[in-house]
Amino acid sequence: MALSGIQIYKLLPQTNCKECGFPTCLAFAMKLAAKQVELSACPYVSDESKAKLAESAAPPIRLVTLKSNGYEVKAGNEVVLFRHEKTFYNKPGLFVRVDATSAVEEINALVAPADAYVTNYVGIDLKLDGFAVDASGSGGAVTPEKFAAAVSAVREVSHMPLVLISRDPAIVAAGLRAVDGEHPLIYAADAENWEAMAALAKQHQAALVVTAGTLDELAELTEKVKAKGVEDLVLDPSARDLSGSLILSTQIRRLALKKNFKALGYPLIAFPKTPAAAAQAIAKYAGFVVLDGFAPELAYPLLVLRQNIYTDPQKPIQVQPGLYEINNPSPSDPVLVTTNFSITYFSVANEVESSGLPAWLLVTDAEGMSVLTAWAAGKFDSERIAKAVKTFGVPEKTSRKQVVLPGHVAVLSGELEGELPGWEIRVGPREAVDIPKFMKQAL
């Protein structure tokens, strides 16, 4: 949380020397609070005050970046509790858990498809973010050598960032040596092992998860680890049920954002056991999510949910204007017109698609507004529609010389006939949901 002008003033020399270019220290403090000047303009500020001011300027939730060969996963730097207040910034990384007790072939068989996994949503390629090699797997005790071998087995088929899971510093050390030079995440430092884990994190420039049973213990532990020089911390407040993890995640986020409570100002890691828990982790504040396995039928909806929740509410996603093909249309199939507001586009495209009938969908540039809003704002009129018909090559690609308008803008049909001489202008249904019926009966 940023300091107020008065709070900053108290940290300044209060000599009104004017060397900063302002008449008084208070005036300078006010400018600092408004972030209109740099503290370095004051030649006499004490080092102690400098440190305090720097701390207050630091983001309330630290940005933690995991890196591997060519990949990066970022978490933290969030500034709000609710996405409508501004936006959520760093999408939680989705990691697939790998049992370190598995044979190398099993590891390859799990990791290779998850590494290669890519799915397209709204024209965006969505991918998973990495793997979590877990020494506490089902196959009994793991030696440091076995753990290192499992890490190397993952590295044979994937270059994505890693989480190394063990409470035993010797095992983690072996894993770290296997991926030397990367910035993985260690899981985890607890009340027993934190000194050794902190030393490893520091030595290997790894980020470190800190875990404890209560928020008090967790905060105490992060302070101790930080004092050892490890700053890239991630929190595991230990709850595994939906209610407990929702409450603790919310409390941690509130403490960080509302109280600027630095000891818990770090991203969170979650280990969901059900799809519902994974959905909650994505919506409610996890920075890293470790999934128990990899299945496309779960990865896809989770990636889409993450995309949706992290969409900036102030910049609704628009689709690219253009002439879209649905159900492999031929030149003689109908041309339906709509706007490029994402929901409008997806509602219409979805209905046309589900009708099973081939059609062309002409998406006009309505600056991301829905049909009625765009029409009212003058962004969806006959001129713009006619322009889209020409720009996107409708006369060349189709032969029907007909366009279907959304029912809400039936009023445009006369004008559009003027803009497109010789074309038939049809009026479709007002709501997307009625499109299949309209297409079956009227086109």
Binding site: S243, Y300, P301, N308
Partner: protein, 324 residues
Amino acid sequence: MPIEIPKDKWPGSVREITLGASATEGGTRTRKVTVGGEKTLPFMHFEGETPNRPVIALEIRDHRPDDWSPLLIETWKEVVDDPAEWAKAAEDSGVDLIQLTLSLTDPDGNPTTPDAAVKAVKAVLQASGLPLIVFGPGQAEVDNALLVPVAEATKGEKLVLGICEDKNYRTIVATAMANGHMVDARCPMDVNLSKQLNILISDMGLPPDRIIMDPTTGALGYGIEYGYSVMERLRMAALQGDTMTQFPMLVTPGFEAWKAKESKVGEGVPESWGDWLERAINWETLTAVALLESGADIIVLRHPESVKRVRAAIDELMAVPQVA
């Protein structure tokens, strides 16, 4: 020094509302459902009470739907041909109440008649003692033509009648008032429109404990983020003391999710979408869970497996953890 957890102090709360009327109250319901009453944001048990758990309704139809995913038809099998049997099967699946949607046409393609609508509703009421939500086909004039006779024929049951929107609220509210029912006040994902409709409905004299607010939603991938944020904002407004937003919220993730291609279709889709059935269940469940956590009080679903999973999620979310 122990950490002091910041708690929000909310002056307002959501209105507590009971659906369905028992024999002594003028209806025939053997079970009733009470929703709302929250004094805090969803499941924040450490700072305020959530006296009633969110409930699950199952959507059924008056006859076999011709546009539903084959996965749903395969699951429910022949009961889809008989609303009474379907209602019983719904009850067996463990839902708290039933949502019957009347179709636009009968199985032969002729417009649904008021008589047929009344018959279907009465059959469902007879087959199951659960509270009932009745939706018309979703076209304002048709909804009016079907819901008014339904409301009259079921006087005193305290059904929820929908869809009650800006185009037809006068008719629906009037019949709800005359016949002891409630309304599902629906607006297209907009805080101010929702509030305005609630004001219009209240101005007609419908008591506030007979209004359910339906902010509409999109499925996962199809605009869920808009519905999600509108619900979070509506719930905050309610807790801040805005009486015209203090109504329990109903959403229809079943309807929305099963409209999506991801759930509806199994062939000709990308391989990266994975197993069809599990994907469809995830689509419905994840949509529902996200909306639960943004404030939904009544969740309307379609698939029994989703009912099971969402119910398990509600069980967990309602448990007051030791740490709090």
